[in-house]
């Protein structure tokens, strides 16, 4: 929680006559205008992801610049979702700025629970909206050709592996860029895992990899990274118009992916069926995992022995990152792109101050400051802006940024985990069936056949088959056009 602020008296002393000039000139004019409304407080409701730690460490800078006090309240994922929905339904002004998971955008936007940010963006050149990676905006922030939030932490997926183990096994380093990854396939990936699984490294018996098996949300997050790369699509047609939500989840591509997911589990510690996101990262950090793929924040989180412990991991200088493989050599790649963005509830009492905070926190300078925070190690490299990826100082702290950027540019959050209005229900049954297949209770074919039937029932029961509401051609190209339009280009 940040409580520091400039008092009106101090601000007037320092600003004096310069204030009038500042007020007339954007972008600083906006800050001055907001500062003139000092004694304002905004409440920010966020989630306990690592980016939140970095944000809290730099929020004082916002308060110093604007005089706006920021109260940050942090909740767990499900608690945040429940709190937000309760406040929306009761139309209570619970917070001025909220953290929004990409999967909630459609629901919140369609129900009018959050405000579109289009007007704020188009009237504020200080937002540098054109600097955002369009893939991040597309996956995290847009719905029906409007911008509803701005990304504060974007995650793609990539590979982490033990360089010392690869050396001991006589394996070549993996490709760190797409240009070098022409023949880097999942079959190669499995071949390496089979070779290193059970190897002895300095007295430690190594597992080939680790999966995240906890159902439903964690397992879906990791599994869909593999299945999308295999070509799996959830629906007959989405996000391209016209939307047809007839499920295609039992496709041959997905059956092949689930078979291979079981192979991955067989090369993992058996207890990883109960692993959450950070359990897998922590297990790798502890030194008996050879290679795994995960969300990109784990590129830096594995530097700690445990989740945000601050104790250096024994693998910290023995890890390299690589791009995700494709199913066939040189084949098309789709990477999962997820993360968090900041939005403004329709009930927000201080809309101008809320916008100033959203713009600031998602801005290039604040993001860089978050990346430079060194509390229990550097804990933020989840940038959504090109300028941050180009920053030499940040690249020095996070040497994997080029690989991460390439993964971001192949990212498509709307295909890998489609933000359909009842996504949460679909994810619930999907995660359960993947987990069932991992236990061996059902075969991959049976699991996906059941998922297909359940998807059909849920989607029909929720009036989404046939889809009678107007569709939108929700493509990356349309997001790029929207971005250009709102940037005044």
């Amino acid at each position: 929680m940040s409580k520091q602020k400039l008092s009106r008296r101090d601000f007037l002393k320092v600003g004096g006559a310069a204030g009038a000039a500042l007020a007339s000139a954007t972008p600083l004019g906006n800050l001055a205008r907001v500062a003139a409304q000092s004694d304002q407080t905004i409440n920010v409701l966020t989630v306990g992801d690592p980016w939140n730690l970095a944000l809290q460490n730099v929020t004082d800078q916002f308060t110093e610049a604007t005089g706006i006090t920021v109260n940050i309240e942090t909740l767990g994922y499900e608690a945040l979702q429940a709190r937000l929905i309760n406040s929306f339904l009761t139309k209570s002004a619970d917070a001025d700025v909220i953290a929004v998971d990409q999967m909630w955008i459609s629901q919140m936007a369609d129900n009018g629970w959050i405000r579109s940010l289009d007007d704020f963006i188009s009237m504020d050149s200080d937002a540098h909206f054109d600097d955002f990676l369009p893939e991040c905006l597309y996956s995290l922030s847009t719905w029906r050709n409007k911008v509803w939030t701005l990304p504060i932490a974007s995650y793609a997926q990539g590979v982490m592996y033990r360089t010392d183990l690869f050396e001991a096994a006589g394996l070549d380093p993996l490709p760190a860029s797409v240009a070098d990854a022409g023949d880097w396939t999942w079959e190669d990936y499995f071949g390496i895992l089979e070779q290193i699984n059970g190897m002895d490294l300095d007295g430690t018996s190594m597992y080939g990899t680790t999966v995240i098996g906890y159902q439903p949300v964690p397992v879906v997050h990791m599994y869909t990274g593999l299945s999308a790369s295999y070509g799996t699509r959830w629906f007959t047609q989405f996000p391209e118009a016209p939307w047809d939500f007839t499920p295609t989840i039992n496709s041959d591509a997905n059956v092949a992916a689930l078979h291979d997911w079981k192979r991955l589990y067989e090369l993992s510690p058996p207890e990883s069926i109960n692993y959450l996101w950070f359990d897998a990262g922590t297990r790798y950090s502890q030194g008996d995992i050879g290679m795994f793929y995960h969300w990109t924040p784990y590129f830096y989180l594995i530097n700690n022995e445990g989740y945000l412990t601050g104790t250096p991991s024994p693998v910290v200088d023995k890890t390299a990152t690589a791009v995700l493989p494709t199913r066939g050599a040189g084949g098309d790649q789709v990477i999962s792109l997820g993360g968090w963005s900041l939005g403004m509830p329709s009930t927000a009492a201080n809309q101008e101050a809320s916008w100033q905070f959203i713009k600031w926190a998602t801005g290039s300078e604040a993001q860089k400051a978050m990346g430079e925070v060194n509390v229990k190690g550097h804990q933020f490299a989840d940038f959504s802006r090109q300028s941050n990826y180009d920053d030499a100082g940040l690249k020095e702290i996070y040497p994997f940024l080029d690989t991460q950027l390439e993964m971001m540019k192949l990212g498509d959050g709307k295909v890998v985990r489609p933000p359909a209005p009842i996504y949460t229900s679909l994810e619930g049954v999907y995660g359960l069936q993947i987990n069932q297949a991992m236990t061996g209770t059902v075969s991959p074919e049976q699991a996906l056949e059941t998922t297909q039937i359940l998807f059909q029932n849920i989607l029909s029961g929720n009036q989404m088959i046939p889809y009678l509401v107007e569709s939108f051609d929700d493509t990356l190209e349309n997001t790029k056009a929207l971005q250009a339009s709102l940037s005044g280009m």
């Binding site: 499900e78 929905i85 058996p270 207890e271 229900s425 987990n435 236990t439 009036q463």
Partner: protein, 296 residues
């Protein structure tokens, strides 16, 4: 104007009326509200208000899109076996306490401690104790040659539900023990001595005298714990999240998923009513058999 006699006859009803009205409102209104919602399509993911009357669709969907049958089976297993185990372990401890052996005073004080823990705390505690890599319990069990599943007790479909029951039993057996011990203390010494004079063995003393005299309190305890276990949520949520697969899914966890994760209010209301009906049938059958020869 009513006569003094009529007024006096009605006075108890009048005095009770406010409480009865409040109680009925608190019970009937939510149930009525849930019943109404169970016949409407209302999913907060798609609309903040009920959209249309859907007949029995929500009831059909309970069986089609949620693992209701698995959850019911697990819930009955957990509640039935858990209550049975806790009752008999508790009875054994109560009998031990009743022997007035040295140190039983301290035991009584220590015994109640697990019951005072919040189930979430107990869940986290046992999550660490059961951790397959470095957890105390697997380490101890492996030390004495007991087979530990490679996925851990919480990650194995055959042991996940049993582990939840174990933690619940650890936490709630002392409650049975303390209450049953209080019941044993209330049995008249003269009755026990008379039986001993008549030559009753310790076994006979327990089965034919102590247990029947404990029956009212035991029946009530069993009913309360059965209902609590039937509604188990905290431990399931913390320990296994219903997994692996549906191996430890309970009805309450299903309700949580549909109501507070999927926000399907209509479906959750229908499931709530099914659970209410099932619990009512079980409890009323239980009461019928336990109290059929008594007025209560």
């Amino acid at each position: 104007m009513p006569s003094r006699y009529t007024f006096q006859r009605r006075l108890p009803w009048l005095l009770l009326a406010p409480s009865v009205i409040v109680l009925l409102a608190l019970i009937l209104y939510p149930l009525g509200f849930a019943l109404r919602n169970s016949f409407w399509f209302w999913n907060l993911q798609t609309s903040p208000v009920p959209l249309y009357h859907s007949g029995f669709d929500n009831y059909r969907m309970v069986f089609q899109v949620t693992p209701f049958a698995e959850a019911l089976k697990n819930t009955l297993l957990l509640a039935g076996i858990g209550t049975f185990a806790q009752f008999w372990f508790g009875m054994g401890i109560a009998l031990l306490l009743h022997t007035h052996l040295r140190g039983m005073g301290l035991m009584r004080a220590l015994l109640i401690m697990p019951t005072t823990l919040a189930p979430v705390v107990a869940g986290f505690l046992f999550r660490y104790l059961l951790e397959p890599k470095g957890g105390l319990l697997p380490w101890l069990l492996e030390g004495v040659g007991f087979p530990v599943p490679p996925q851990g007790f919480l990650g194995n479909a055959g042991t996940a539900l049993f582990s939840i029951g174990l933690v619940d039993t650890w936490q709630w057996t002392p409650f049975f023990a303390i209450v049953l011990y209080a019941g044993l203390l209330s049995i008249s010494e003269e009755v026990l001595e008379a039986a001993l004079v008549d030559g009753a063995s310790a076994w006979r003393l327990f089965w034919s005298i102590a247990l029947p005299l404990l029956r009212p309190i035991a029946a009530f305890l069993v009913m309360i714990r059965f209902m609590q276990l039937f509604n188990s949520f905290d431990l399931v949520y913390v320990l296994t999240s219903g997994g692996p697969g549906t191996a430890s899914r309970t009805l309450s966890f299903n309700l949580y998923r549909e109501g507070l994760v999927n926000y399907n209010i209509g479906l959750t209301a229908a499931m709530t009513w099914l659970v209410v009906i099932i619990v009512s049938v079980i409890i009323n059958l239980y009461l019928f058999f336990i109290y059929r020869k008594r007025e209560w």
